[in-house]
Assembly symmetry: C2
Homo-oligomer: 166 residues x 2
Amino acid sequence: MPLSPETRERLSVSLAQLVRSGRHMSSRAATHLHGDLPSFGWPLLLPLESDGDLRCSALAVRAGIDVSVASRQVAALERAGYVERRPDPQDGRASLLRITARGLEALTTSRALRSEWTGTALAGWDDADAHRLADLVDRLLTDIERAVTASPPSAAGHHDPQAVAG
Amino acid sequence: MPLSPETRERLSVSLAQLVRSGRHMSSRAATHLHGDLPSFGWPLLLPLESDGDLRCSALAVRAGIDVSVASRQVAALERAGYVERRPDPQDGRASLLRITARGLEALTTSRALRSEWTGTALAGWDDADAHRLADLVDRLLTDIERAVTASPPSAAGHHDPQAVAG
DNA sequence: ATCAATGCTTGCAGACCGCAACCATACTCT
DNA sequence: AGAGTATGGTTGCGGTCTGCAAGCATTGAT
């Protein structure tokens, strides 16, 4: 039972605005959300925290960016001491990345900042609505990922965009 | 009645992922969503469509970008024929921007593409859930805007150039 | 008439992105 | 083993989007 055209359009417009709004917040200037982490630290450190050591290419896939970009950003995080690398015992070409204590700390700080900001912005919300929204967003994310991986979005480019509406 | 810390954190993480995911779809390569519109056309043409003629500065506020950026993007849209400008009768410095028939057409096409994509990605959803999500997202957007305007982001930090790319 | 304020444009630089070329290592095949 | 290919990662390059600051033209107040 598919969605009605009106619902589809309304949802796509709302999501586009949300994405646009959020883009502004992940900007470099948003230190009230990042702490001392560079703006790209969050999507890289998060998989490293939850899934242990990863290779650069695996990290790139998780973060939805090109390996070359991940390589540069990881190098920056390494210089800043948030991440350390050791040679992969399985493969001499690869390195395994691990989050450092400092990285964990920065991640925790950033998480607290985000959480705090969310709390003040959503002061009028109750837990039930927030949970509903989180549930729906999570479901949306999995469906988006499925849709993107299922049908290549562009014939020419075979990049890995997990793009949605916006 | 404030949100619990767990809910806040979960929501902030989910929304961050959604924003990150959506970022890629506003890329220039996502012609399956933009049609022949440039990627920045959507957030500019949308206010022009709904609110009639606007000045460049008003448009920048609506789109959430700097006036200088809006100026450049509007110039591009004008060159492409999606927008036309006429002198503001009230003020010789300003121009009034209006969406052209071609702009309306492109906007309609883009809207249809987005709607179609949303329909396939959210194939398993029913109208009720989609409506719930759209309602919550809209409410979230208004609350975010309120929070942002209440405490201006420029107050938090000036620019913090930690150049890292190599 | 003068001078500050306003609307917009442009020069500049930063941040992020992907592609292509490249090197070193691993794997496959004969 | 040796040759050829595939893979992981890095770097050069260009492109896009962004904001800041300086500049220009017009407006409005003194």
